[in-house]
């Protein structure tokens, strides 16, 4: 197995993210990054990616609020070590909302239905710490996409501080898709770009995907699947690199927006 280089930690880049420059959005969004993970097909393990990304943010001292709309198993509960009755609840009741916390830094909720979250998720109480909001979901097909994304934005706004729905718009979008569902991946990228034109876009796929999409492409390591069965968040350095990269992009875009706003 090739040796993977040690990752750049979030501490190395957090000075960018936590800079004192005035953010574009209101004060409640300061130090908060909102990341959406849209999974385009079932060859990708949504819960594994979401848990790994949340854990990467948490390892560097960020408070994480993680939402998962789980259309299929496994759920994030599997990777955060929940008992079977907990992580499999959506299989028995599609409206069930399950919540928990991990290591005191990640709070998570998951349900098969986005409407189940309404009124039941709450903002991170520690406002002083930098925060990450991660929402993971299978991209809905057809006409259901718009109301679904709208509902998800409202939930993100609640987690970001209870502001208007626009405050729940993602700073960055990750679309994950495999070779088998490239048609669905294209639709997912197009739909997310149309809904959130200002968000930074990334496309995560393995080496087998040759097609290009509008989002910046990030190659998923082949060996990441090896930790699929382990009942803990994956700790591969790839997730740390991804988290660091996301924060850098979010920070630089906010600086740019502030600069443009200052120029009038």
């Amino acid at each position: 197995m090739p040796e993977r280089r040690s990752s750049r930690t979030l501490r190395d880049v957090s000075h960018l993210f936590l800079s004192q420059s005035r953010p574009v959005r209101d004060e409640a969004r300061r130090g908060t990054a909102c990341i959406w993970l849209a999974v385009a097909d079932r060859s990708m393990n949504r819960a594994h990616c979401a848990a790994g990304l949340a854990a990467a943010f948490a390892r560097q001292g960020m408070r994480v609020s993680l939402l998962e709309v789980c259309g299929s198993l496994p759920t994030i509960g599997y990777y955060f070590g929940m008992e079977s009755a907990g992580h499999l609840s959506p299989a028995l009741d599609r409206a069930a909302l399950v919540s928990g916390s991990w290591n005191g830094t990640v709070r998570y909720w998951f349900s098969a239905s986005v409407s189940s979250f309404r009124g039941r998720v709450e903002e991170e109480p520690d406002r002083a710490a930098p925060r990450a909001i991660v929402a993971a979901f299978p991209y809905p097909r057809g006409r259901s996409a718009e109301p679904f994304l709208s509902a998800l934005r409202e939930l993100s706004a609640v987690l970001a501080g209870g502001g208007p729905p626009e405050d729940g718009s993602p700073d960055a979008i990750i679309v994950a898709g495999g070779a088998e569902g490239i048609g669905g991946t294209g639709a997912c990228v197009a739909g997310m770009r149309e809904a959130f034109p200002r968000a930074a876009g990334f496309f995560v796929a393995d080496h087998s995907v040759r097609e290009t999409v509008a989002f910046e492409r990030i190659v998923l390591p082949d060996d990441l699947r090896r930790s699929w069965a382990r009942r803990m968040p994956p700790a591969d350095p790839w997730f740390d690199d991804l988290a660091a990269g996301l924060l850098q992009v979010v920070s630089l875009r906010r600086r740019e927006a502030v600069s443009l706003a200052a120029k009038g």
């Binding site: 060859s43 992580h87 299989a91 082949d222 090896r226 699929w228 069965a229």
Partner: protein, 104 residues
Amino acid sequence: MRVFDVGKRIGSRSTRRLFIRFCREMCRLSDRFEIEVAPFEVMLREPGAGFCVVVSPLRDLFLVSIGESRSFDVRVSSDESFVSALDLALERYLACASKSASAS
């Protein structure tokens, strides 16, 4: 023949519902499953990953056999046994997917 029709062998409505749910959740795990529906069982396989699960309805319960060799069965007739069987099947599927990734 449909999964729903196979499930009609189960007398209890609540257990029949669990049978349908179990098959539905298993089918959602992967787009690559080969699904064979026979009069007395439903078989889901992903040949490339070496994963196989067979679900067999009986009068008051259904059996979940995990693995090609059908080395052990889980008897499902309640929510508790349902989550146990689903948890085992899920873990086996993820382990098979991990192994196939390591081998490739």
